[in-house]
């Protein structure tokens, strides 16, 4: 069955703090969404990411692989988490992405994964 990546995007300054009311609420909604995915058999994997400032970028070169501190794309918007789901078609995937966006209270990007040959 086709697989899709749902990525969650937010501002780079976004700090996860579960003591706030907002994160309690979002956390609960995301938990419920995860359950829906699992019950429907659509769940493949999902995780939230630590802040983008914790990232390291590695690049191959003749001298070996170099390292730079920070995320690859130096944009204000960074990926904060993702799901990989299975869905029979685009509309089903879009429906999940819509629910994901509601649960996270933010933008979600839907992208199909390359099929396994």
């Amino acid at each position: 069955m086709p697989q899709f990546l749902l990525s969650v995007w937010h501002d780079e300054e976004y700090e996860v703090d579960f003591t706030t009311e907002e994160f309690q609420r979002v956390g609960q909604k995301v938990g419920a969404f995860n359950e829906e995915l699992t019950e429907a058999g659509a769940w493949v994997f999902g995780a939230g990411l630590m802040p983008a400032s914790s990232a390291t970028v590695l690049r191959p070169s003749k001298e070996g692989v170099s390292m730079t501190d920070g995320p690859y794309a130096e944009t204000k918007e960074q990926m904060g988490g993702f799901w990989i789901i299975e869905a029979p078609d685009m509309d089903t995937a879009l429906d999940w992405a819509q629910r994901a966006s509601n649960a996270c209270e933010g933008p979600v990007e839907l992208r199909p994964m390359q099929p396994e040959e």
Partner: protein, 420 residues
């Protein structure tokens, strides 16, 4: 010559249906498109001799299917093509489109054609595609227009349209878009997108400049044609009927919209004797039919407004209080600036330019700064209120936002008259 014209008309009428069915059978938009094009080429060679067959759509679909099988057999190196070829072989062997028995056997295969066309409409107007891509897909696959025709209609380079189509088809394929009519729960939202794309095609045709009209496909007529098909397929959707009524009632005014010299004539100044009464009568019937259903929507209300205009034998006889009431209803459903501007213009007719200006000036001027109709409407009301200097400034802003040459010359003329 007349034969050639007939062929073109048949092709355009049948293209959407044939492509729609072939996509389902072949499971691939590009394959279907190529196969239908090939079948049309064969028809163009044969039909002048044999005459147009009684069921041209069935003939084209069968021929296209046979050609697709041939091609798939030749080129079934790629896995997906192989799969598609397999599917075709399973259906049954080659059919002869000129053989009556085979044509009958074809019924099962072509009968669901109505559903196929709906599937194709929802695919072309998928909400995950940008509106300009939806429009290009609809005109190409459902309307059967060639890429150069679409490009000329929108005054953009052919490569732009070609690329838009390639990207859209690729996106749908990469995302495993299904070839289905949306589920009931999603249907209202999805239908709304389809109607929006069709209306976009219509308004593009309606506002297009007239100078090179002979070289351009008539987008308004294309939009009406595809919307008629949609209404046939979904007769119980009042908004689809409302959109068709709106298009017909607007198109009815077309003969009066331009003066002999090609300049634009305002609704109030149009020679209503030149309005197309047949279109108006049909539009009226449709509006009445929707109103009876009592499920008002934006297109139905706009159609009702157009119907009120059509009812007035002269501009002075227009029932503006009814039009303002309809705009109130529309604003309740769509509380946006565009509706508010139109409502203000109608209010000015009912209570005078000051009342209209008061409404316009209460709107968020920042958000409307790039909205040409706001400045054009405001300029007109300012003239009528005797505030000429402000009117000239408003015309300047409107002109800066107008690309259409017919509209430009109209506004320039109005500005010239207002300039103190």
């Amino acid at each position: 010559m007349s034969d050639e014209l007939d062929l073109a008309a048949v092709f355009r009428r049948e293209a959407g249906r044939c492509t729609a069915t072939l996509i389902r059978v072949l499971g691939d938009v590009d394959l279907a498109e190529d196969a239908v094009a090939e079948a049309f080429a064969i028809a163009a060679e044969r039909w002048p001799e044999t005459g147009i067959p009684p069921n041209p759509g069935g003939w084209i679909t069968t021929t296209a299917r046979n050609r697709a099988i041939d091609r798939l057999r030749r080129e079934s190196t790629r896995k997906e093509r192989h799969v598609a070829a397999q599917r075709l072989h399973e259906e049954d062997d080659d059919m002869d489109p000129d053989h009556a028995r085979d044509l009958e056997a074809l019924d099962d295969f072509v009968d669901v054609v109505a559903d196929d066309q709906l599937r194709l409409m929802f695919l072309c107007c998928h909400p995950a595609l940008a509106p300009d891509a939806q429009v290009a897909m609809t005109l190409r696959l459902l309307g059967g227009l060639e890429v150069p025709e679409i490009a000329r209609a929108f005054l953009v380079p052919e490569a732009t349209i070609a690329q838009r189509l390639v990207r859209a088809k690729r996106k749908l394929r990469d995302n495993h878009a299904s070839y289905e009519v949306p589920r009931q729960a999603q249907l209202p939202d999805r239908l709304h997108v389809v109607l929006g794309a069709l209306y976009l095609i219509f308004t593009e045709g309606h506002t297009a400049s007239s100078g090179d009209a002979l070289l351009r496909v008539d987008l308004s007529s294309e939009a009406i044609r595809v919307t008629r098909v949609l209404v046939e397929l979904m007769p119980d959707e009042p908004e689809a009927v409302g959109l068709l009524a709106l298009m017909l009632l607007t198109d009815a005014r077309r003969p009066a919209r331009l003066a002999a010299d090609g300049s634009f004539v305002r609704l109030a100044d149009q020679d209503r004797g030149r309005w197309d009464r047949t279109l108006i009568a049909e539009g009226h019937d449709l509006v009445r039919a929707c109103l009876r259903r009592n499920q008002p929507g934006p297109f139905q209300i706009q159609a009702a407004i157009a119907a009120v205009h059509a009812d007035a034998p002269v501009a002075e006889a227009t029932d503006w209080s009814q039009i303002v009431a309809l705009y109130d209803q529309l604003f309740a459903l769509q509380p946006n600036e565009v509706v508010a501007v139109n409502r203000a213009v109608a209010l000015a007719e009912l209570r005078g330019p000051a009342a209209g200006l008061e409404q316009l000036d209460a709107l968020d001027a920042d958000r409307l700064d790039d909205y040409q109709p706001f400045h054009a409407a405001r300029a007109d009301l300012l003239v009528r209120a005797g505030r000429l200097e402000e009117a000239v400034r408003a015309y300047d802003r409107a002109l800066a936002l107008t690309t259409n040459p017919v509209e430009r010359s109209f506004l320039s003329e109005q500005r010239r008259r207002a300039a103190p």
